[in-house]
Point group: C2
Chain length 616, copies 2
């Protein structure tokens, strides 16, 4: 056992160029673990409801977790936490790749970026040496080139996170890219926009320290014992990537089609993981410490959309830039994905914005005069690519689309708010709440707005199961009974994943609740029970909620757009419409939240969050 | 048969003092009947989405219908139609009393008030002589005094509509009062505010003409034959008024209690119609041509709330100023009702505003510093009376409450929007959608915002029935199957009632669909079938919807506040939460409205409303 497990965080002020270090004591770490747990706690203190997300007073927090950089499968991950310029509320964004472990090897568990540089800068961290450098040569470069240039400077073992032009230009859903052309993204809610607002182009890390493990031998053995099962059970992911089940998703009414309007679509089979494997797929990509290898690299050797080997589109990207825009040309989607990666755009929000734009175009609310000549017809791949350019460079309608759906629909008018598919300002990812009722509740209550990862129930309501969370069998995806509890339980587990920092896909390979608890205890030397573990997840989830409560979020915001609530998509989702209000009532009761969706004093005390009571 | 049944409408411009007359030809009258049907058609033409409800460009339309002033039971009614300053959308407000027939006897079916007088004026209409007169002596007087003064001038057979101080002071939910201290009100959506904005204090009418009947003898016989049944079947209304069923409403979770939070309340029995009959009731009040006599007059001979004989509180008033504020003192409610009548305040919105204020007070969002010293505790009758004064005179918090719940909750903040119980800006009347699911759909789709009268299903989902509308038996009030059709059918029938202008309570005495059709045909000489009749109701309902569509209303607005959707009230409503989105989807399909709740081109063509297609 390590006496006094602690975390060390660098606080880098870009205004003053001062660098401080914060040490989080064991008690605090035990309560909030790391990743978005610690991130949320820090963000709550640094910011408040008056903080302008793009002002120097906002902070951008990069956090690893206790498991980051250990052998605990797919653990080379970090979380970015900030106040979102897209939603105005709490934001976290998770990223794989190879930067998290790099940071940790510098002896740092996290970094807090404060203030705003006078002109573009980048940061290099070599073990404990942190430098703020002039980025005038990097500014304007895409993320692939930036990665190459910084690696040339720091060496081949260094790792880089950076923004592209979208972040520089303050597109509200800019992301942060790690691993250059292998592009892993901290994608959602505009974390790259905040980085851009601080004039921060990139952070390179190169460390040589060891990651601390309390019971190393036992830990190694435990992981070794799990390895073959992990590899076996994730084979489909390895073969076909996250788009492995895309056709199935289409068949059960999960895949978004035509801006969430349509039930079925023939094109699904032309954008599936299986189809990619036969066409554009070059090889697997593995994040650090991963044996699953769901990542794709793709190559297109000829034709209009020729592409050097680079990261291929994930399921979400295929859903949002593909089926949701009725684009069934896999080469176009690969190209679109590459552009988003180069420019540092969230592929989910980008696809959402373009599908929204296509619907507005079809309805005559915008014309090609607005789009700088682009004919935004459904399925028009070149228009899709053209609009990605325009969103990035903020030209023509791209300027407005880059502000997010709420602003764009307000400006475009003509009832376009009726097909702006978001919750709390965050665009839907590619899973349809009409196909699986738990997804409805998950999106409505996710702390960062519409998000499939905060509850991650979509795979477990219909398909996989987690016996040691109490769900040994597959469920009826249209039945609401029991679903509030189901969502709550998953939100707690996922809060822990986002704090421990290892990949959620490890669940499919056996890294369920009990093994996670075991691994956490072996790494930290703690003695968490399963109950402690899930209660910590609950604490973290509630802390994020309290951040949002301070921002004015309440029950009225825990909802879904009318298209999802009132329009049955048909197809595999049949005529199902989520009975959200009924589920929400039960959900609040289970959570110990009051009628307005605010955690009660009793609940906050039970979760040892009583210092957060006063401010609500 | 009268060749060329037509309507004559006076257009009175208060800016220019010009008076014109419009004649509506038979074809137009057949299509929109009268009352709010013709009113909506006229309003659509006079105003548009840029019209400021309180600007001189808004119009205030008073309309009677073909039945007004005939023997067709309780037909002395008129409708006021305008663009609402409370909601910003279509408004209609129905009124009994004795003014409608008075207007009609002047040879006029309606009046359109345009422009704005430079200083306070009133209008007198004696047969065809219309005069605009200086109202400086009347301005500031209450409605009772104003009625007396104009009757002194015009004679005892004249009838007066007027506003009180609330309308003069532009309280957003000011009403128009007829019959002075017997106070019948065109209550809802701020029609009195519009009257105030035009500097128009009152309109007196004194006519001597006969109301036209095509087949008079047959008509008289038909009414005579129905009379005894009408009298018999409405006996409970006559004995105990509209509050006859108040205790039952409490028992089934229909009566609002503590700002729609609570399930049951002992106090109900102290504010019921039966209790009134034993205490404050003086006698019945009958509107013109009425044999039901649900109206109450009350008298309090001694004590703090001493009251000369005047109009007593209706069920809605008892629910909103009584149970919803936990006030169980019938004398206080009688006094509050009298104040609202004198000042010209809608008792429903006033009760809603005060219950909202009491909840904000309980939650510490406002204090007695804000209320000018009033302690707004639940059940505090004197605070209730004090706040009515403050709303009227726009003092302290009364200023803000007089702007309506949306504005008030935005200003007060602290999640008070969570307990602002309204739809489209109009406060709920005293029927709870959790107790009867059709009420949920009715409120969400009512063209003037939350309204029990536009569908009027609350009495027919649980209790009464209308066989010739297809509902011979009572329904399961928690079951949603079949309810969308039920609401649609009732909305059509009620659109006809609001256009024909006779009291909806006549339904209970046998004036159901077929007798209504008969009566309409006998009066006008037309040959409407039942299908024509209901289709006309549908046409009128859709026309009002198109008015609102032009104002930006769509599916997103067809909803209910979160307390009603997500918080089960318990009591007789049990844990029911309306599955509104499911019902709404079916409702749109039945109506032939598109996904956004907009009538399709096909629907508008079917309803002969094709001239309204272009503007949407």
């Amino acid at each position: 056992m390590i006496p006094g497990y602690f975390m060390k965080i660098a606080e880098i002020n870009l205004t003053s160029e001062e660098i401080d270090f914060i040490t989080l004591e064991e008690k605090e770490v035990k309560a909030f673990i790391g990743g978005s747990g610690i991130g949320a706690k820090l963000l709550y203190g640094y910011t408040n409801h008056k903080t302008d997300p793009l002002g120097p007073e906002n902070v951008l927090i990069f956090m690893t977790g206790p498991l980051t950089g250990t052998k605990a499968f797919s653990s080379d991950r970090f979380e970015v936490i900030t106040k979102s310029p897209l939603t105005g509320i709490y934001a976290e964004s998770d990223c794989g790749g190879r930067w998290g472990e790099g940071l940790k090897k510098c002896g740092l568990d996290g970094i807090v970026i404060k203030g705003k540089a006078k002109k573009p800068v980048y940061i290099t961290i070599k073990d404990e040496e942190i430098k703020i450098k002039d980025a005038s040569e990097l500014w304007g470069k895409d993320t692939f080139a930036t990665d190459v240039l910084i690696k040339e400077e720091m060496g081949p073992n260094s790792h880089v996170v950076c923004i592209g032009k979208a972040g520089e230009n303050l597109v509200k859903f800019a992301c942060i890219i790690n691993e250059g052309r292998h592009a892993r993204a901290a994608g959602r809610a505009g974390v790259g926009t905040v980085m851009g607002s601080k004039n921060l182009k990139a952070i390179g890390v190169l460390g040589s320290k060891e990651v601390k493990i309390a019971h190393e031998q036992e830990f190694n053995q435990f992981i070794k014992d799990l390895s073959s099962r992990m590899a076996e059970q994730t084979e489909a992911l390895r073969r076909y990537g996250t788009a492995n089940g895309l056709e199935y998703c289409e068949s059960v009414g999960d895949l978004p089609i035509k801006n969430w309007y349509q039930g079925n679509w023939e094109g699904a089979k032309k954008i599936s993981g299986q189809f990619m494997a036969q066409t554009v797929l070059k090889r697997n990509y593995y994040c650090g410490r991963c044996i699953i290898g769901c990542g794709r690299t793709v190559e297109i050797t000829k034709g209009k959309y020729k592409l050097e080997e680079t990261a291929g589109p994930e399921y979400e990207t295929l859903g949002m830039l593909g089926s949701n825009c009725l684009v069934d040309d896999i080469e176009v989607i690969c190209k679109a994905s590459e552009l988003c990666n180069r420019y540092g755009l969230d592929t989910i929000s980008t696809g959402s914005a373009i599908a929204f734009c296509m619907e507005a175009y079809e309805r005559g609310l915008i014309t090609s005069d607005d789009t700088g000549g682009l004919r935004m017809e459904w399925g028009n791949g070149d228009a899709l690519l053209g609009m990605i350019e325009k969103i990035t460079s903020r030209q023509d309608l791209g300027q407005l689309l880059g502000e997010g759906l709420i602003v764009a629909s307000r400006e475009i008018g003509g009832n376009s708010d009726e097909f702006a598919i978001q919750v709390k300002g965050l665009d839907f990812p590619a899973h349809d709440p009409r196909g699986k009722v738990s997804v409805a509740l998950g999106y409505a209550t996710s702390n960062r707005g519409a998000c499939h990862l905060q509850a991650f129930t979509h795979d477990f309501e219909d398909g996989a199961s987690i016996a040691d969370l109490g769900y040994p069998e597959t469920l009826d995806r249209f039945e609401i009974t029991g679903k509030p509890k189901f969502v709550v339980d998953f939100q707690h587990l996922m809060s822990m994943f986002d704090s421990l920092r290892c990949c959620k896909f490890t669940v499919f390979g056996g890294m369920t609740v009990e093994p996670l608890v075991k691994v956490l205890n072996l790494v930290t030397g703690w003695n968490f029970s399963k109950e402690d573990f899930l209660k910590t997840g609950e604490r973290i989830f509630n802390l994020k909620r309290m951040y949002n409560i301070r921002e004015g979020i309440s029950r009225k915001d825990d909802t879904l757009p009318p298209r999802i609530l009132i329009h049955p998509r048909g197809g595999g989702a049949k005529d199902n419409l989520p009975y959200l209000n009924k589920m929400l009532n039960e959900y609040y009761q289970i959570r110990g939240w009051d009628e307005f969706g605010i955690p009660t004093e009793e609940t906050l005390k039970r979760l040892e969050l009583k210092e957060y009571i006063k401010e609500c």
